[in-house]
């Protein structure tokens, strides 16, 4: 379905696109629940997080419209993600934590 444009710049996403994304999200949920039953040891965290990231990208990009916004929004979002990654990453350098 085409993406229309409302007056004065509000980009309109069609109903169909949203339903499609929702179906994808449900399938990803089913996938991640199914995979959690399989014992992948340390990899299980990574797969669960990876699927969560994909689901989040769909919600962010399409439901929240980020894909259609000006570039500055995406840059700012990236800054936030990097900031959080730094906070978690640098804290992890302290190996004496949480003995």
């Amino acid at each position: 379905m085409e993406h229309g444009h409302g007056e004065n710049g509000g980009h309109v996403v069609s109903y169909g696109t949203f339903v499609g994304v929702w179906l994808a999200l449900l399938m990803l949920t089913a996938l991640t629940v199914a995979v959690s039953g399989v014992d992948l040891k340390r990899l299980s965290v990574l797969t669960a997080l990876a699927v969560a990231c994909i689901k989040t990208s769909l919600v962010l990009g399409i439901f929240m419209h980020l894909k259609y916004e000006d570039r500055i929004f995406k840059v700012m979002f990236l800054v936030v993600v990097v900031t959080l990654a730094i906070f978690i990453g640098l804290t992890f350098t302290d190996t004496t934590l949480a003995r």
Binding site: V79, T83, F87, T93, D94, T95
Partner: protein
Amino acid sequence: MAVDVAGRPHALPDYLNHRAAYSGILSWVLSTDHKRIGVMYLVSQLAFFLVGVGLGFVMRLEMLTPGPTVISNPAVYNAIFTVHGVIMIFLFVIPGLIASFGNFFLPIMIGAKDVAFPFLNLLSWWLFIIGAFVAIASLFTGGLPDTGWTFYVPYSIQTNTNTTLALFGVFILGFSSILTGLNFVTTVHQMRAPGMRWGRMPLFVWAIYATSWIQILATPILGITLLLVMLERMLGIGVFDPARGGDPVLYQHLFWIYSHPAVYIMILPGMGAISEIIPTFARRTIFGYKFIAGSSLAIALFGSLVWAHHMFTAGIGERAAVIFSLLTFLVAVPSAIKVFNWVSTLYRGSIELRPPMLFALAFIFLFSIGGFTGLMQGALALDIHLHDTYFVVAHFHYVMFGGTGFALFGALHYWFPKMFGRMYNEKVATIAWALMFVGFNVLYFTMLLMGWLGMPRRYYDYLPQYQSWHVVATVGSWILIAGVLLMLGNLLVALKRGEKAPDNPWGGVTPEWSTSSPPPVENFEKTPTFTGGPYDFPTEVAR
């Protein structure tokens, strides 16, 4: 009425005389005019500052002799330094120049009529006041919080004093800070007047922009950390409490993830003000505009990477200590770039030593000492010896008071005529400055030496060998306080009886000097268009 260069009265009433929807005090506390909000912040902050100074005065009196001097109960001393820290940090230095001068001048400096969200702006101020009162209420309802402003666990969980309320007050203050940051970032992106491209913005605006990002990104971490401590106290949640399996060092990590970037929230706007004052009083364009703008962003970035240098002796791992020590050395570089550029601006400038410039030059001197002593603590071996001594106390007073404090007072003397339409007595201001500069160094340089010799911080009692140092420091505090009171008194008198200020008393070239003193409600008689560089001075002095 404000007059222009030829002495003709301006067509529009200024913001102080504007007839608003409400009258009297309501026309201030319900105003969404960024200029009134800025003034309200300034007045509130200075009031809290004086309370903090009073507490400091009492602390220094107590330290005149070992053992009890004016305070008989050591727990009371603990409470006093806690409250002194909470008030000074959260109610004076963090809002600092950004809430006061940032609010007043950000829109004007980009040619806008107000900030992006004026109602949210007023809400920010109300949250500031409410948070302040909640935090202060904790002094009067149940025992005085005595954990230090850092609220370290497990003591902050176990202490019977009214810490939960104090934490909640700080939580509310955090909200205020976040909303201001959000407002300012949106304003800079969306509301620049025609021609005000990013590379033309005054450096104060760049500083505010960088600071606003830190406010947005770092403050929530403080929020959640304090919230968790409140939950621990009230519900026994057990995230940090070692008795319930928590890790107290994790608390310190989370606390400092905010509180280190917080010091850059404190200093960056101050540096921005210095970048405004120096070109004006050297009558030269700033040296290295791009580097100063860029270094503000670099400080915001690197400043978020160094927090564990507050924890070198807390028991963190060696690998982490080395990494954070290295990062701490790196963050000094962008600050140094600023200092080099300010000094280079002075070279071959036509320097006028008027009060704003005196404060700016003092800033460079005092901040440099603060910066160097910070670097010293970044060295792991030295920090083992210096941590939790008066060396640290002196270091942070050099950067927070000698740095942000003096920058704020410099900005106050620079922008006072613009904000209030009055000139002040420059002779008295200079004497006050001299008293402050001398008193400051007598007080805090002595502390550097005392700390080096082993005097611990937050101690009510001490060994007799430190007494003469303490006496010298206390006398320094009296000279400093005398200077502060003289300075503020001078400005207060000027509000009522100062000579009317012209639009541009100092010959500045940034946007605020092209409008009336004080400015009209919508800042400019008509929306300006900007051309040329941000600090283009004409070769002839035309004032």
